[in-house]
């Protein structure tokens, strides 16, 4: 698959990445600055992006999230390492094939559709987690909703998404 140009990646994702940082409460100039850095990082690593292993959006999200944790929250989020001698299970996904790439694309589309159909209160919990940096207990306190209700909504949302993904690709 041909690698996308910097311009096409930038036009597509830079506004969303900036919106992501603004949603996390960064001021305008910091959000601009960090969004630019994230886009450069996406570009610098774009030879590592494997369209067979996931959607571009997932990958951009992961880079933006990690930058938020490193640069803004000044904390760390370790990740498992497939080369770890302790690793159990498949170390790498199977050989990339056009069929798998098609499955990944279809999965991303299915997920977006499923997300659009979630009840508003379930989606609110996901947005609090992913965009507002609110844990479920923080959302519960801020919105005056019992913690059990918040957790139930999150679980129902994830179950619905999983069921859609499990369905035959369209």
């Amino acid at each position: 698959m041909e690698r996308p140009s910097f311009e096409s990646i930038f036009v597509e994702y830079a506004p969303r990445v900036r919106a992501y940082f603004l949603r996390h409460g960064l001021n305008r100039s910091l959000a601009d600055e960090i969004a630019q850095e994230v886009m450069l990082s996406v570009w610098n690593h774009s030879d590592r992006f494997d369209p067979d292993k996931g959607a571009m959006s997932t990958w951009v999200f992961a880079i933006a999230r990690n930058r938020l944790i490193d640069s803004v929250r000044k904390t760390r989020r370790p990740e498992p390492d497939p080369d770890d001698p302790c690793w159990v299970g498949d170390r790498q996904s199977q050989e990339p094939t056009p069929e798998r790439a098609a499955v990944e694309l279809s999965r991303a589309r299915t997920l977006r559709n499923a997300l659009a159909r979630l009840p508003a209160e379930q989606r609110r919990v996901l947005e609090a987690l992913y965009f507002d940096g609110q844990s479920m207990s923080e959302l519960s306190a801020a919105a005056g909703i019992p913690l059990g209700t918040v957790k139930t909504r999150a679980r129902l949302a994830l179950r619905a998404l999983r069921e859609h993904i499990g369905e035959a690709p369209e």
């Binding site: 990690n66 770890d84 690793w87 159990v88 997300l115």
Partner: protein, 216 residues
């Protein structure tokens, strides 16, 4: 062997969304090293992050200044952040940057118990790798804060629930769970990562170990 005791779904969601505090991320990342099932779950949660990102609209009006197409910098390999010694190879890599000593070594703590201190940089989260000798029993205790125990090697049994924890299994206890004790039932020592949220409380597992075995 595949783990059977997994992190709470909320912890996986916090980990993927980036909300999780560092100590939760460390425990989750170590569990993921052993658990393909939770790795799939986190992959879905990452995809969800991407799908959510796709829904964001930029409401700020003015466009971001777009830099000219930069030369793509060759990415050098990330400097190794893990320790490569026979002992370290038995400890999942997400923990390696937290060792207090350059070469981790078991330190005697009490008869049948040794430990490797682990330092988490945020907050005051006591975290330790603990090695128990076979047959060792940890007296009944209760929990006030949260305590996560991830078994890396050997077998730890819960004397109250009779749950059996093997490599990669995670036990999470807090104030809502009742009193319980543990016993090492493997013929080999049991190595676990033990993390508690908050100062050491004498009623927690770790506190009881210190109290019962060292007289502190």
């Amino acid at each position: 062997m595949t783990p059977t005791h997994h992190p709470d779904p909320d912890d996986l969601a916090s980990y993927a969304s980036g909300v999780a505090p560092e100590w939760v991320s460390v425990v989750v990342a170590c569990h993921l090293t052993y658990c393909a099932e939770c790795r799939d779950e986190v992959a879905l949660l990452d995809d969800l992050g991407g799908a959510l990102l796709d829904t964001l609209a930029d409401t700020q009006g003015s466009p971001l200044p777009q830099p000219a197409e930069p030369a793509r910098r060759a990415e050098g390999p990330q400097p190794a952040r893990y320790v490569d010694t026979p002992l370290a190879r038995t400890i999942p890599r997400p923990l390696h940057r937290y060792f207090k000593e350059p070469v981790p070594t078991w330190r005697f703590l009490a008869p049948g118990v040794s430990h490797i201190p682990v330092s988490l940089t945020v907050g005051d989260m006591p975290a330790r790798l603990i090695r128990f000798k076979p047959g060792l029993s940890i007296p009944d205790h209760r929990h006030t804060g949260t305590e996560m125990v991830l078994v890396l090697d050997g077998i730890l049994e819960d004397t109250a629930t009779h749950d059996v924890f093997r490599t990669g299994d995670l036990s999470r206890r807090d104030g809502s769970t009742g009193r319980h004790g543990n016993i090492v039932t493997s013929p080999d020592p049991c190595v676990s990562l033990v993390v508690t949220d908050g100062p050491v409380d004498p009623s927690t597992m770790w506190g009881r170990i210190l109290k019962a075995l060292t007289g502190l």
